[in-house]
């Protein structure tokens, strides 16, 4: 291990100019990170910013291409997470990475079981585990299997494991994503305890309030590059969000967007107080015929989860859903489809296309029952539909028989849109409809969305690109931490205002005033 001369004595971890490339992507581009002793350091950034990659480089799961890792005064190059652990870096993952069927005590000591005369010393394991758990102020039976306890308790066991290896640094990768508010409090108590023992924490979370509650310093990444690091006291939520999204909050100009011209003010969907077991904590909104409603919010705010509830893809929810004024109970997507709903998933590859099937098959797979007679597909009708949509959506392909995986992302997306449009839906839910497609195709898809609205189809559009929401939507509902926290329309609908609502978790007076004046005009 190399010697480091100019080392600040108060710094536990210093990452210098870390670069890591995967085939075709520069995941980390000269990123730096500094964590002091006993400091809780937030690592923030949207998806793909490089947070997880950076942590995997740190803990030896990935090998860095270049750069320097200095930990506790020494330059380190870990080859495995075990090596990192032995040196004092423990990681707690979002999905609890413990063994469900083994006892709590064994989970704490797995891989470094104490032995007595050649055999595992169970008494000592149980005794020491109990001491650690007691020390954390939790009471549980360490001999019981891990999976007999709740997620939060399991998370605590993961922390107990981290403490027991005498960690100097604990990396927590979205530890709160599956915890409820009370459980988060319990976790924070433990983090404060670690801090008081001079143990440092790197805390990754998408929840802003948590960051501002528990962290001392913050490092922001975007697209694999370092945006900056700050004292948490020196930064506002608005600044933080704008840096994460890469927009200067003060610089954003209001952009033109359509206004909703109601032909017939019929509400298609009215959802009230939608909750699920994990992410959603009460979402209410409604969509009218021909309205384009945007759903804004950071990753993990529950946008997709909400859309899935509305589409019947999550039975475990509470709250009421009215479709066309009638209360319904949606148990499966087919219930929602039968009521005229359509859903374009954000994950085209997993939840959308059948890669080895043709455009024709992909496009008509949902409508087959409607165009079949006694189980036999009416080929003529099928061809009509396919030809119509290839033409009207300008899908670029030599033939409808082309396998869909050979198309560009934009054209795949258009085929998926056609799949739902040919069902003549009343409401189309689009989850990140322009993700991963080029600018030209983006414009075409946006145009299509406007066309749908003109045909009186309601559109629920989820997007992380604010300018896209502002440009396309009549109204935008902002979500945060599983709740809808604000709503913007008319003049108040701007990127800047969306950012502010996301950051503050609510509407400030100025927008409500603007909205009020809007409403008065109507």
């Amino acid at each position: 291990m190399g010697k480091v001369n100019h080392m600040d004595r108060s710094t536990l971890l210093e990452l210098n100019k870390i670069t890591k490339a995967f085939p075709g992507v520069l995941a980390l581009d000269q990123v730096g990170l500094k964590v002091g002793y006993g400091e809780v350091h937030a690592l923030m950034g949207e998806n793909g910013a490089g947070k997880s990659t950076l942590m995997k480089v740190l803990t030896g799961i990935y090998k860095k291409d270049s750069g320097q890792i200095i930990f506790d005064g020494k330059e380190m190059n870990f080859n495995s997470s075990m090596e990192a652990q032995l040196s004092g870096i423990s990681t707690i993952y979002q999905e609890i990475n413990l063994i469900p069927y083994l006892s709590v005590a064994e989970n704490i000591f797995l891989g470094r079981e104490p032995k007595k005369v050649g055999r595992i010393d169970w008494d000592r394991i149980n005794r020491e585990a109990e001491a650690i758990i007691d020390g954390m102020g939790i009471s549980l039976d360490v001999k019981k299997p891990l999976n007999s306890y709740s997620t939060a308790i399991q998370q605590m066991v993961a922390i107990a494991r981290a403490i027991s290896v005498r960690a100097k640094l604990v990396v927590m990768d979205e530890p709160t994503s599956s915890l409820d508010e009370k459980e988060v409090e319990v976790l924070f108590k433990q983090i404060r305890k670690l801090k008081s023992q001079n143990i440092s924490v790197i805390f990754i979370s998408h929840r802003l309030d948590e960051i501002f509650e528990i962290c001392d310093r913050i490092t922001i990444l975007k697209d694999g590059k370092l945006v900056g690091d700050f004292n948490i006291a020196d930064i506002t939520k608005v600044e933080l969000v704008s840096m994460m999204i890469g927009k200067d909050a003060t610089d954003i100009m209001a952009q033109a967007h359509g206004t909703y011209e109601a032909k017939e003010e019929a509400t298609i969907l009215k959802a009230e107080e939608i909750r699920d077991t994990v992410k959603l904590r009460g979402v209410s909104l409604e969509i009218k015929k021909g309205e384009i409603l945007g759903l804004a919010g950071l990753l993990g705010s529950g946008r997709t989860e909400f859309a899935k509830v509305v589409f019947g893809d999550n039975v475990h929810h509470e709250g009421t859903i009215d479709i066309n004024g009638k209360p319904v109970k949606l148990k499966l997507p087919k219930d929602a489809i039968a009521r005229g709903f359509a859903f374009c998933s954000e994950d085209r590859k997993v939840e959308g296309i059948f890669p080895n099937m043709s455009i024709r098959e992909n496009m008509t797979i949902a409508i087959l029952p409607k165009i079949s007679r006694m189980g036999i597909v009416d080929k003529k009708k099928q061809k009509e539909i396919v030809d119509t949509y290839i033409k009207s959506l300008a899908i670029k392909t030599p033939s409808p028989e082309q396998k869909i995986r050979n198309l560009s992302g934009g054209n795949q997306q258009k085929v998926l849109l056609a799949r739902w449009l040919c069902m003549e839906p009343d409401l189309v839910i689009l989850d990140e409809p322009t993700r991963g497609i080029d600018v030209g195709a983006k414009a075409e898809i946006e145009e299509l969305i406007q066309k749908m609205s003109k045909k009186n189809i309601g559109v629920l559009m989820i997007s992380s690109e604010l300018e896209e929401l502002v440009r396309n939507c009549h109204r935008v509902v902002v979500m945060r931490d599983g709740k809808n926290v604000g709503e913007l329309q008319g003049e108040a609908l701007s990127e800047k205002n969306i950012l502010t609502v996301i950051a503050q978790g609510g509407m400030s007076d100025s927008f409500t005033a603007a909205e009020r004046s809007m409403n008065n005009e109507q």
């Binding site: 495995s80 090596e83 063994i99 083994l102 064994e106 891989g111 709740s150 009370k182 077991t277 475990h316």
Partner: protein
């Protein structure tokens, strides 16, 4: 009352195999006077010994989240090797086949871990290949153990020690070792960890590949030993023998309460599973007028009942956690 009912159910679920075993023994002893005789009991134990060995190996492999379909073929292969080597003296004819089967187990493990082939396919390939080798080596006919050694060689399968057949002693030793390993050694615990959550095991720094490879080697080793006993019993190597033994071993493991997705189960449970299957066969023999084909039907139904109970336990746990999460 509710509580008693709940504890009762829990008890049945946890100790179900033991209860089933005891009930079976009870019924058999009441109905058939010759069931509890020394001759019959030792006979059942001896007949179950070879399946017992490969089932213990199978349990380790299944605990890691894998499966080993090649053991039946390997038992036959070891038997053929014994007969083929019987000119080279007792030591070689016993240990060489065991060594070869252990090596084949290692190959299974390497294919599963290093080449990342699903265990089902990897060991299915091994099974077919070994069966093929058996036929090529023998021309499809059984090979007699050489007359020079057959007398002393058949001691293994036919003699008793302290009134218990030697094959049963072998199973007892292997069983106790396996129980000790699975409870009191790092290797044993890591088998459970790998099968319980492979990704987490990697993150905790366990050598997952090596844990798996050793499980397949252990399975091969025990198949080799079973083959040696088999050849000793029939006095010959039978290239097409032991057909379907791997399935019986899997059934015994499942009946014994080991979760087929890995991470949960006990070797002791497996042995009870083996005995249950052995006793069912025995009862049908004692009944005399019932076709032995019924054995498959009864064992199959029993297996299904056990697996259904298992999956319900898992489902309850999941539901339970969901409820707790939404309340907490």
């Amino acid at each position: 009352m509710e509580k008693i009912k709940k504890y009762g159910l829990d008890f049945i679920k946890q100790q179900g195999v033991v209860i089933a075993f005891l009930v079976l023994v009870l019924i058999a002893s009441i109905r058939y006077s010759e069931f509890m005789t020394y001759g019959n009991v030792t006979n059942v134990l001896r007949q179950s010994s070879m399946i017992g060995l490969i089932s213990i190996g199978m349990t380790f492999v299944i605990l890691t989240g894998g499966i080993d379909l090649s053991v039946g073929a390997m038992v036959a292969f070891a038997g053929v090797l014994v007969a083929k080597m019987s000119g080279s003296g007792l030591f070689v004819m016993i240990f060489f086949p065991i060594l070869i089967c252990t090596a084949l187990g290692a190959v299974n493990g390497l294919i599963v871990t290093k080449m990342k082939i699903a265990p089902f396919i990897a060991t299915l390939g091994m099974m077919m290949a070994v069966r093929g080798v058996n036929l090529v080596l023998t021309g499809g006919v059984s090979v007699r153990v050489s007359d020079d050694v057959i007398g002393s060689y058949q001691v293994i399968a036919r003699k008793f020690f302290l009134g218990i057949p030697i094959p049963v002693w072998i199973v007892i030793i292997v069983l106790l070792t396996a129980m000790y390993v699975s409870k009191y050694t790092k290797y044993g615990r890591h088998i459970y960890a790998v099968g319980g959550n492979e990704e987490a095991s990697v993150m905790m720094g366990l050598n997952v590949d090596w844990v798996k490879i050793r499980a397949y080697m252990f399975s091969g080793l025990l198949a080799g030993i079973a083959g040696v006993i088999f050849a000793s019993r029939v006095g010959a190597g039978q290239p097409v023998g032991c057909e379907g033994w791997e399935m019986t071993a899997i059934a015994a493991t499942a009946i014994g309460g080991t979760q087929l997705t890995g991470g949960k189960g006990k070797v002791s449970g497996t042995i009870i599973g083996v005995l249950i299957i052995g006793i069912i066969t025995n009862i049908l023999n004692l009944q005399g007028n019932v076709n032995s084909w019924w054995q498959g039907i009864i064992t199959g139904l029993l297996l299904l009942v056990v697996v259904v109970i298992q999956s319900q336990t898992i489902r309850e746990k999941i539901m339970d956690r969901r409820v707790r999460r939404s309340v907490g």
